[in-house]
Amino acid sequence: MQHPDNPSARGTMSRRGVLECMTWAGTGLLWSLGGGVPSAMGLDRALAAEAPPAPFTFLQISDSHVGFNKPANPDALGTLREAVAQIRRLPDKPAFIIHTGDISHLSKDQEFDDADQILREIGLPLFFVPGEHDLLDDGQGRSYLDRYGKGTRGAGWYSFEQQGVHFIGLVNVVDLKAGGLGNLGADQLDWLERDVAGLASSMPIVVFAHIPLWTVYPEWGWGTQDGARVLGCLKRFGSVTVLNGHIHQIIQKVEGNVAFHTARSTAFPQPAPGTAPSPGPMKVPAGELRRVLGITSVRFVRGSEPLAIIDTPLAG
């Protein structure tokens, strides 16, 4: 396998290529796959893009929390609608949308119905993984599986391939253990091992799950206790991108060939790790919600370059 620090040989740029991530936090991320390395750009930037479109793009949205109506955002449905409107204005349509969970706030039928109706307006294929808020029905997830579980295994995990990229949707919000973090469980991990066993190591991998698969802040439960086994399964692959939600803010990390990224919510922000008494919804002064959900651009070069983060508010 190519050493990540070696200068790229001709034609192998993809292994350590630039991952550029521009996010318009309130809506979603537009991911482009060029040469095997995903890159993301905020929707505002994507809408204004003059560069020719990448050969393959997809979009991530997360944490819609439809039904949430508390002071941090009394109209979570409205901000999801705004996000969808932004997506629909994109000149170059992404191939599909990935939703990384917490579609609903309380798993009520009405909440799922409302979310579905709005998301369907995008007119693109949708792929989901559940958040813990999507499994609160009396059947503890039956409702989610009835709606989104077709063709999935176990609690709703699955994989698929698009244009030479292997996508893996994992569920780490089921059967959580007292005192613990997110949990995948032995069955899912065994399946994952088998799922990637036959793949060439050169195939780019995109893993998505609700709770971060890496440990962001265990004091608030922001991590997955058996997430390391996922990374173990994927160690041999040259390009692995991990997309998560749950923490309603952008945090990124690169570790070897693995790039980790958490998306913001379309509903409400949450505090940075340890900066508040709890991870509960962060209330911002009236009129500033969309400022908080403004543009965040993060650009980094795998390897030696430091992270460069530029925040640009949507308003104000």
Binding site: L136, A178, G180, L181, W220, S278, P279, G280, P281
Partner: protein, 124 residues
């Protein structure tokens, strides 16, 4: 409470009075901790924390959890004896503890939230 804070500012003799007051105040508090009564007890859920996190009650005590957060929580016994529905803001869940023992519980949505109820018969 405010008077206790003011005491040290007064004459030295009052310091002794303060100590005596503290001793007097301490005695009924100890009795309450034993919980010889089965008065209903409230456990608050605020800032993703159960408070009090550890609680000792007498058999037959009704314990009610109240969620004060903007985010739903649950109350689930680790031994599966009880499991609340999802508690949205201000929702409550009540369970009456009969058998003596130690009952560890947690929030199944946010499992880093844990608490314990100890059910102990009175020694009187």
């Amino acid at each position: 409470m405010p008077s206790a804070q003011r005491l040290p500012r007064r004459l030295a003799g009052c310091g002794i009075a303060a100590i005596i007051l503290q001793i007097l105040a301490f005695t009924p508090a100890t009795a309450a901790a034993d919980r010889t009564l089965t008065d209903p007890v409230i456990i608050r859920i605020d800032n993703f924390t159960f408070a009090p996190q550890a609680l000792t009650v007498a058999p037959g005590t009704r314990v009610t959890w109240v969620n004060g957060d903007d985010i739903p929580h649950t109350v689930v016994a680790q031994n599966k004896l009880f499991r609340s529905k999802t508690l949205d803001t201000d929702d409550r869940f009540t369970f009456t503890f009969q058998a003596p023992g130690e009952y560890a519980y947690f929030c199944s949505l946010h499992p880093h939230m844990t608490g314990t109820v100890v059910v102990k018969a009175s020694t009187d």
